[in-house]
C-alpha cells in the first residue's frame, strides 16, 4: 500500500512529469492559455496515460519479452498509444464537440507525446509490477494536470499589454515554466522526510 502512495506522491510532486522530467511540454504550453481547456485536456491525458500503462505493460511482459522481441518495444508502444489516442479523440468528438474544438490539435499530439511514451517506458525501466505501472501512469497524468492547471492560472494573470513585445506569448511562458520548475524542486526532499 505504501508503495502506491509513494508512487503517487512521486509521480505528482517529486518527479512531476512537466517540472522534473520535462516530458509532455507541447500540450503544456499549447493548452494552458485558459483554465477551462486545461481540465478537459488533463482528463484526456490522465485517461491516456493510465490506459497506456495498463496496455503496454502486459504487451512487454507477456508478448515481447518471452519472444525475445525486446527491440520492438518503442515501435509497438507507439502503435498501441496511437490507436488509443485516436480512440479517445473519436469519442471526445462525439461526446463533446466543444471540448474537441477547444483541444484541437493537441489531442492527436498526445500520440507522439513523450509523456505518454515516457511513462510506458519508465514503467518497464523501473521494473514496476502491473498495478504499480497503472498507478504510475495515473500519477503521471495527475501530475501533468496539476502542473498545467497551476501554470494556466499563472499565465492568465501574467499575460497582458504590460509585457514587452519581444517577450509576449511563448518567451514569457517558458520563463514562467522555468521558475515554476525551480519552485517544484522544493519537493525533492519529500521522500526522505516522509518515507
Amino acid at each position: 500500500m505504501m508503495s502506491f502512495v509513494a508512487i503517487l506522491v512521486g509521480g505528482i510532486l517529486v518527479q512531476n512529469f512537466i517540472f522534473s522530467r520535462f516530458l509532455g511540454l507541447c500540450p503544456f504550453f499549447g493548452v494552458s492559455k485558459s483554465l477551462d481547456t486545461v481540465y478537459g485536456m488533463g482528463a484526456a491525458v490522465v485517461f491516456v496515460m493510465t490506459l497506456c500503462s495498463a496496455l503496454t505493460w502486459p504487451l512487454q511482459r507477456f508478448l515481447l519479452e518471452p519472444m525475445g522481441l525486446g527491440y520492438l518495444q518503442t515501435v509497438s508502444f507507439i502503435l498501441v498509444i496511437a490507436a488509443l489516442v485516436q480512440l479517445v479523440e473519436m469519442v471526445i468528438q462525439r461526446v463533446s464537440p466543444t471540448l474537441h474544438a477547444a483541444l484541437g490539435i493537441y489531442l492527436p499530439l498526445l500520440t507522439t507525446n513523450c509523456a505518454v511514451l515516457g511513462v510506458a517506458l519508465l514503467n518497464i525501466n523501473q521494473n514496476y509490477g502491473f498495478v504499480e505501472s497503472v498507478v504510475n501512469g495515473m500519477a503521471g497524468g495527475l501530475g501533468w494536470t496539476l502542473a498545467t492547471a497551476l501554470y494556466a492560472g499563472l499565465r492568465e494573470r501574467v499575460d497582458g499589454p504590460h509585457v514587452p513585445k519581444a517577450m509576449q506569448g511563448l518567451p514569457l511562458a517558458f520563463i514562467t515554466a522555468g521558475l515554476m520548475a525551480l519552485a517544484f524542486m522544493g519537493f525533492q526532499g519529500l521522500f526522505k522526510s516522509l518515507f
Partner: protein, 262 residues
C-alpha cells in the same frame, strides 16, 4: 524476424480494424449546410478571408461569424451561390482590384545603393533607409507581392522594376497588400479610374530630389478639380473615389505626372 513482422502486422491490422469499427459507431454527421457552403467556395485556401482555409470559412459562415461575401476571391458570384445555398439575401459588393501605387522605376527614383541580399522586399526593407531606393515608400521591386499572390495575377516587370496586375485574374483578396512591406499595393474599386501613384509624405522640395514622378504637393490638382475630389493630405494628393468623375483634368495638370489614369 518473421515473428516480429507477424506480430507488428497483426497488431496493426487488429487495432486498425477496431478503430474503423469505432469510427463508424461514433461518427458525427457533418452539418449539411457547412458542406453545401464549402462546395460553393473556390477551394484555393488562400486565407484572404482571415479564416483557416475554405473549410474554416464555410463553418464560420454557417455559424454566422462571417458574411457570405467574406470570400473576396470568389467575388459576387460565389457570394450569390452561398446565399442561395443558405437561403439568405446577399448584398451586392462592388468589385475591386489590386493596384500599384508607385511609379518609381530606375530612371525616375534615385537608387542609394546596390542591394545584394535576400531577394525579398521584406528583407530589403530592413536595410538602412528602408531599402535601396531614395524614397522611403518606393516599390523595391523584388517581387514579394508576386510570390504572395495565389491566383497568378501579379508579375514583375523586370525592366521597370514594378509589379504588373493582371486584372482578369486579380480577385482583390488583399494578400499582396499585406505582403508588401512598403504599402505599395492597394485594393481599390474597379470603378476608380484616376489614382495618385505616389504615397510619399515628404515636402515637395525633398521629393523632387528623390524621385522625378513623386507628388510635390503643389496643389495644382486640388485647384483644377471641378468636383472637389482631390485633397492634399500629408503632402500627398488623395482622390476621393465617391466624388471623382474621372474627367482626367488633374492627371493632365500634374507636372511630375504622379496622377495616373487606369
Amino acid at each position: 524476424m518473421w515473428q516480429a513482422a507477424m506480430i507488428m502486422g497483426g497488431a496493426g491490422l487488429l487495432l486498425g480494424a477496431g478503430l474503423a469499427y469505432v469510427a463508424v459507431k461514433v461518427a458525427v454527421p457533418p452539418d449539411e449546410r457547412v458542406t453545401a457552403v464549402r462546395n460553393e467556395l473556390p477551394g484555393a485556401n488562400c486565407g484572404a478571408c482571415g479564416f483557416p482555409g475554405c473549410d474554416g470559412l464555410a463553418s464560420a459562415i454557417v455559424k454566422g461569424e462571417a458574411a457570405p461575401t467574406a470570400c473576396t476571391a470568389g467575388g459576387p458570384d460565389v457570394a450569390g451561390k452561398i446565399g442561395k445555398a443558405l437561403g439568405i439575401e446577399v448584398a451586392a459588393v462592388e468589385p475591386k482590384v489590386a493596384t500599384v501605387l508607385c511609379q518609381g522605376t530606375a530612371d525616375h527614383v534615385i537608387r542609394t545603393y546596390r542591394y545584394d541580399g535576400i531577394a525579398d522586399c521584406r528583407a530589403a526593407a530592413l536595410m538602412p533607409g528602408g531599402g535601396p531606393k531614395a524614397c522611403g515608400v518606393a516599390c523595391i521591386g523584388l517581387g514579394t507581392c508576386v510570390a504572395a499572390c495565389t491566383f497568378g495575377a501579379l508579375s514583375m516587370d523586370e525592366e521597370r522594376g514594378l509589379p504588373v496586375v493582371d486584372k482578369s485574374k486579380c480577385t482583390a483578396c488583399g494578400l499582396c497588400v499585406t505582403a508588401c512591406p512598403k504599402g505599395v499595393m492597394a485594393v481599390v474599386p474597379q470603378s476608380q479610374k484616376v489614382l495618385v501613384a505616389c504615397r510619399n509624405t515628404d515636402r515637395g522640395p525633398i521629393v523632387r530630389k528623390l524621385c522625378s514622378v513623386g507628388c510635390l504637393a503643389c496643389n495644382l490638382c486640388v485647384r483644377t478639380c471641378q468636383s472637389a475630389a482631390v485633397k492634399m493630405e500629408n503632402n500627398v494628393a488623395v482622390i476621393d473615389p465617391a466624388a471623382c468623375t474621372a474627367c482626367g483634368l488633374c492627371a493632365a495638370k500634374c507636372a511630375p505626372k504622379s496622377i495616373v489614369l487606369m
